[in-house]
């Protein structure tokens, strides 16, 4: 029997001690927002918070989690998607396929807890999660937005035209989306 505290709820689970925390969260507890991506702590899709620190749950045997440890998954980050990171993610339409985004958001939330006003270099170092769709530019911009650093970013779109009959016309608009 292992005892876990996940998102403020206690769980008593009968599971082999070498089972990775990721699979206990997904299969025994039934919270599937935390994803399997690599199993070797490389991609970060399985990121959760343990006592406020971001951890990759795929490489943590459940036996090494102490009963007093507070585990927070994406489902427990906020009740209603109101964490500033989640709000910025929605505002900038960060996700594409979305599969890695739970992990990205958990990593970003942990970064901002430690460093409320990160610069680009801080973001480079903290955000090592893999996104195969390549949402990185918007991930960076959304972290700046959530932190209120005032640094502009996101998608840079030049809407031009190669034809005279274009409804956009030849006016070149630069949009921050």
């Amino acid at each position: 029997m292992v005892q876990l505290n996940i998102n403020g709820r206690p769980y008593q689970l009968d599971v082999e001690p070498d089972t990775p925390l990721l699979w206990v969260i997904r299969e025994q507890v039934g919270l599937t927002g935390t994803k399997y991506g690599c199993g070797v702590s490389q991609c970060g899709a399985c990121s959760v918070h343990i006592n406020g620190e971001v951890q990759r749950s795929c490489a943590i045997p459940v036996s090494s989690v102490r009963s007093g440890d507070r585990i927070v998954t994406i489902e427990g980050l906020s009740r209603d998607s109101s964490h500033p990171v989640q709000e910025a993610w929605v505002e900038l339409d960060v996700p594409q396929c979305g599969y890695c985004q739970s992990g990205q958001i958990m990593a970003a939330a942990a970064l901002l807890r430690k460093n409320p006003k990160p610069n680009d270099k801080d973001i480079d170092e903290a955000m090592t999660n893999i996104c195969r769709c390549g949402t990185y530019q918007r991930v960076r911009a959304a972290i700046h937005m959530a932190a209120g650093t005032g640094k502009s970013g996101g998608s840079v779109i030049h809407m031009g035209s190669a034809a005279a009959e274009s409804p956009v016309g030849s006016v070149d608009q630069t949009t921050q989306a």
Partner: protein
């Protein structure tokens, strides 16, 4: 728990209308509508929410539910298709929901939703005409219903945001109120439907927000890998690591008594699966299972043997010429200056973040599959084949894909394998999930290739002849041999086509031009990889173009422009990228530019990269400007997202490689197989230059200009062309 509630909710047979992304209810997938009951359920639901036509259902609260046949894998097609339907429907964009249909429903209704395949960047361009017609037809019927009720000519009515008004009498009503009557009307003749001029678009063509973001930030979005069904079992699989090998034997005595293990089964001739009550238990047991493989002849193959085989193809006699204008060989032989180079590109993997997975349940008279598929109808067909049940007794519930990139289209190996396992557990749903290592070891890789290029310049530095010989593996030979006509596999020269209209034509006119392909197939499975053969061919042509330009003593941009007079659209995007990037303007010390243009998927792409290379070989890409002419731009924000994503995916071409040793893939996880990370990515600017006279793709076209523009910038920085990939071969690392 919400996720569990979702899974249960998906099970409701009556729940035909599911989820409103607008209301935050989430896009519930996996509609459970067994064929035969589909019609009854539809009628049931239609009492409350009438189906005006196959594409549009209107609820009493005016919510317009737009049906979608294509798959969503992050590329934004669901939102884009909804924009196109909503534009013609004239509904309130704030009150729409989208509802994916199933392959079984499509079959039961004689494919009223047509093709469900989502690949080749065709999601929107391949269906825009009939989905817009669907929206327009629904609008016409809704208006007619109001006209009938008020006994006025339909021509006197106006509609905006789903509200119908009659100026003469001051009356107004809404779509929700007239939908039931509209549903009973005869649909208009397709010929009478007049689509809007895109210049009048109010919803399409705008950077509206995606409809599917809300559930992707809180863990609620359900992927196929997250599926929960009553009594479900979990399977882990191991295929012979050597392609073409088989299972000789395995000893399950050591693992069958482990906790939770329910069975150890063969999957065809090539694989073994352990089935257990949880996936982790299945996987751990499989890792402990002794398996003896009959590895077959493939075990003798390695990257070195494959390279030697392809090299022989560079000069062999069996190539076919896809283009043979003038006399390229003679022109080059007689030229003042000759340039020659051999390029090579490795196998690369798709590495979808959601590993391959699939759930199947087979009973005596029903087979069902829950999957992430780029082609739900191919999944249905694969299920029917393996289960032995006719299509009408099969159903396929597609899910939002955790990445597709071409991996989850026609091959359907995941469906076939899951079905082969589930068949051995009748009546029990079995979810098969591949480990990352298995996913890397058994992909359909981007084909390996080499290319020998030669060019001749006259005394003025003008290009008088070019000869391109590609030697490499064929996707068609592996997956679709019927597409090879008279020994001509045109797909492998994608992007270098001169005569094939529309899709992926070469952007240069060279008087004497010979383009050849020598097919050299290996034992390694190959398949479409986002951008497919434009990736390698873009590198070959566009990097060599820089070599030739330098040999001619000309600026790479000007040299290209001189060859592009007959290709105004190619030239248009090249100019747009160059202008926005400030080609020719001063750069900080140590920063160099590279440029490339190419065509694929009906769209025109160009890129300029700004790169510096340190003494230690650290390659830093600082900024990239990418220009795209995709004809019509349905959602500029989504297009930018795809362009940004294409840079990350294009980085694979530079730094990733699947090496073959002893017949098997060496790089089995992300510790050895590099994937672009946030810190590596440059600032990306998207230049959209639509000409509004065609419909091109968006998901793939720009990938193929990413690697060559960066390689050309490296060449500018170091003075040495990069001809073989990955960059690590040259002591270069993307930082």
């Amino acid at each position: 728990m919400k996720t569990q509630d979702n899974a249960v909710a998906n099970f409701s047979r009556r729940r035909f209308i599911v989820g409103s992304a607008i209301a935050g209810g989430g896009l519930a997938l996996g509609l459970r509508l067994p064929v035969g009951l589909a019609e009854a359920a539809a009628q049931d639901a239609s009492a409350a929410s009438p189906e005006v036509n196959a594409w549009v259902v209107v609820k009493p609260d005016d919510t317009c539910v737009i049906r979608i046949a294509r798959a969503e894998m992050g590329q934004g097609t669901h939102t884009g298709l909804a924009q196109l339907v909503a534009e013609e429907l004239e509904c309130d964009w704030r009150k729409i929901a989208i509802e994916p249909i199933t392959a079984g429903q499509n079959l039961a209704r004689k494919r009223v939703w047509r093709d469900m395949a989502t690949g080749g960047s065709r999601g929107i361009r391949g269906s825009q005409d009939y989905v817009r017609q669907g929206g327009a037809a629904a609008r016409m019927m809704l208006l007619q219903a109001a006209a009938d009720a008020w006994n006025v000519p339909v021509g006197e009515l106006a509609v905006a945001n789903g509200v119908i008004t009659h100026a003469g009498s001051g009356r107004s009503t809404s779509y929700g109120k007239v939908a039931a009557a509209a549903a009973k009307l005869t649909p208009p003749d397709t010929k009478s439907i007049k689509l809007k001029n895109p210049k009048e678009w109010k919803i399409a063509g705008k950077a509206v927000k995606r409809l599917d973001t809300a559930d992707k930030v809180n863990g609620r979005q359900m992927y196929s890998i997250d599926l929960k069904l009553p009594d479900m079992l979990h399977a882990a699989i191991k295929d012979c690591p050597v392609f073409g090998g088989k299972v000789a034997s395995f000893d399950d005595s050591k693992i069958k008594t482990r906790p939770g293990v329910r069975g150890v089964v063969r999957v065809g001739d090539t694989a073994v699966a352990v089935v257990a009550d949880t996936w982790w238990r299945a996987k751990a047991a499989l890792d402990a299972l002794p398996i003896v493989w009959d590895e077959g002849p493939g075990v003798k193959q390695s990257s070195a043997t494959i390279a030697a085989y392809l090299k022989e193809g560079l000069t062999a006699d069996d190539a076919y010429a896809d283009t043979d204008d003038g006399d390229a060989l003679k022109a080059i032989a007689g030229a003042t200056k000759k340039v020659e180079a051999v390029y090579s590109t490795p196998f690369v993997a798709h590495a979808c973040m959601e590993p391959m997975n699939c759930t199947v349940r087979i009973t005596a008279d029903k087979a069902e599959v829950w999957m992430p598929s780029q082609n739900a109808e191919a999944s249905l067909a694969a299920l029917s084949t393996v289960s032995g049940l006719p299509l009408a007794k099969c159903e396929a519930y597609n899910h939002t894909l955790g990445g597709g990139f071409g991996r989850r289209g026609g091959t359907q190996d995941f469906t076939r394998k899951a079905a082969a396992i589930a068949k051995q557990f009748p009546g029990v749903p079995v979810k098969l999930v591949w480990s990352r290592e298995e996913d890397q070891a058994h992909d359909f890789y981007r084909p390996i290739g080499q290319c020998k290029l030669a060019a001749g310049l006259d005394q003025n530095g003008e290009l008088v002849g070019m000869h391109i010989r590609i030697s490499g593996q064929s996707i068609n030979a592996y997956l679709a041999p019927h597409n090879i006509k008279d020994g001509k596999d045109r797909r492998q020269v994608q992007g270098l086509w001169k005569t094939l209209a529309g899709d992926a034509q070469i952007g240069y006119t060279v008087r004497n031009m010979r383009i050849e392909y020598a097919m050299r197939n290996t034992h390694v499975p190959v398949g479409p990889w986002r951008g497919v053969n434009t990736n390698q061919n873009g590198i070959y042509l566009e990097c060599f173009m820089d070599e030739v330009a330098r040999a001619a003593g000309k600026d790479p941009l000007e040299f290209r422009r001189a060859l592009m007079h007959n290709h105004p659209k190619h030239l248009g995007v090249l100019n747009a990228a160059a202008e926005k990037a400030g080609w020719g303007k001063p750069l900080p010390a140590g920063v160099h530019r590279g440029i490339a243009q190419f065509m694929g998927y009906g769209s025109y792409s160009a890129a300029v990269a700004e790169v510096s290379v340190s003494a230690k070989g650290e390659v830093k890409v600082h900024r990239m400007v990418l220009a795209l002419n995709c004809g019509h731009a349905v959602n500029p924000a989504t297009i930018a997202a795809q362009v940004e994503g294409s840079v990350a995916y294009g980085f694979d071409s530079l730094q990733s490689q699947c090496t073959v040793e002893n017949g098997r893939i060496v790089e089995l996880n992300f510790d050895t197989y590099p994937i672009a990370r946030l810190a590596q990515l440059p600032k990306i600017e998207t230049v959209i230059v639509p000409t509004y006279d065609f419909w091109g793709g968006v998901g793939e076209p720009t990938i193929c200009v990413v690697a060559p523009s960066i390689m050309n910038a490296i060449y500018a920085a170091t003075g040495k062309p990069v001809r073989t990939l990955p960059l690590q071969h040259h002591g270069l690392t993307l930082v």
